[in-house]
Symmetry: C2
Subunit: 243 residues, 2 copies
């Protein structure tokens, strides 16, 4: 059976599937507007449509808003993020050269990161994406949770929100687990910040497709792997930003 | 800047973003039609729009079609998949009870799996999704490749194709690496089969959203996490299929 609509979201489904993927940027600056419950449910419902290993649906989304433990968890995360950004800022050269120029690409990224970590506790919604393991940790475990995280970000985009995935919760994994009662066998897969964007979604920059696609064997070129007209490029962020 | 179109795909972008996520099923039965190079490029281009750790774009897609080494790799995979399915078929009770009834849900799944593994070498396109590591393997490495895999499946859906992610390449990881020249530091993240579907996309079944979403702490209910009208449910596949 082919469905012509998506339950609960069809009336607002104005962004095309391809367009949505091409223009969902990482959003780190948010307006204070809350996300209504119904929108959050729509976002998480679409997240949960993603595939997972044997369709076990081992992903669990823990939403942190204004509850008591959510507040404690957000404080833990906020402090860790500020410490990590302070460290990274020095290490990755955001304090010197073009990083110190507020008008440069790197300088703007630094300002965005500072705003993100400084205001972390006030971000409208934080979702902790987790995966309930049934075996010892394995490097492909993420196949059962990161597709859902991507759907989550795309669904947020469809409803006019935006977000970003970060792994910096790993710096406070133990106290975070204790605070929220998350068992050890549950993988902390991602922290996702969500809200109404300051700024805009739009075309993302990536490497030329030919650098990312091989055919027949490792590093064998795929001559047909060409970028469409209008594609904007970037090198890998850390290298390019250092220039 | 807000873009109104997706380079290279806008004219065919007829499926809505939310609808696409809600109706992208795992497709394991394929028509013999090849995927034209331009469509494959569009699919992989959208895959590569996904986020990755620090936007490093460490994902690499190795396309296996009719090349010499692709043929060898597909044979390795096909043999492994057939052996694994034969094993799983017995272990997961596909040969007894409802699994032995061709008209049951489980029986239909068994027939689909048999067709998938029997015809693996003839599936139009197989993509090996990989991730180039810069550190020791870590359980969150998949955050840099599985979002792209999900985009890949959604982009295929947008163009009228379908596919499925499997991890069964792990049974032949060593010979597969040798055959294709894939270095040890590259993670074999997923094998994705792609082609024009026999059968159709349509609404996927998942658990009730309330089982997948918590608020404020682990296993604390989120009363607002309700499924939209028209949602169809399934329990976790392995348990439910056993009934």
């Amino acid at each position: 059976m082919v469905s012509d609509e998506s339950p609960g979201g069809a009336d607002r489904d104005q962004v095309g599937l391809l367009e949505g993927m091409a223009t969902t940027r990482a959003i780190r600056r948010f307006r204070p507007d809350p996300i209504p419950d119904a929108d959050l449910a729509t976002i998480l419902w679409h997240a949960s449509r993603a595939p997972s290993g044997s369709n076990r649906q081992s992903f669990r989304f823990l939403v942190l808003r204004d509850g008591e433990r959510a507040g404690q968890a957000r404080s833990l995360l906020g402090e860790a993020f500020r410490a990590e950004w302070a460290r990274k800022q020095g290490e990755d050269g955001y304090l010197t050269g073009s990083g110190a120029d507020p008008g440069s690409r790197k300088g703007r990224m630094a300002a965005t990161m500072q705003q993100f970590v400084d205001g972390f506790e006030d971000i409208p919604v934080v979702v902790l994406a987790t995966n309930v393991r049934e075996r010892a940790p394995h490097v492909t475990d993420g196949a059962s949770v990161y597709p859902a995280c991507q759907n989550l970000l795309l669904a947020a985009r469809a409803l006019g929100y935006g977000g970003v995935i970060t792994m910096w919760h790993e710096l406070v994994a133990a106290p975070l687990r204790a605070c929220l009662g998350i068992p050890d066998e549950v993988m902390l897969a991602a922290t996702i910040a969500l809200g109404r964007p300051q700024g805009h979604h739009g075309p993302v920059r990536r490497r030329p497709l030919a650098e990312l696609v091989y055919e027949d064997a490792w590093e064998q070129p795929a001559p047909w792997a060409v970028d469409p007209d209008g594609t904007r490029f970037t090198g890998a962020a850390p290298d390019r930003l250092r220039r």
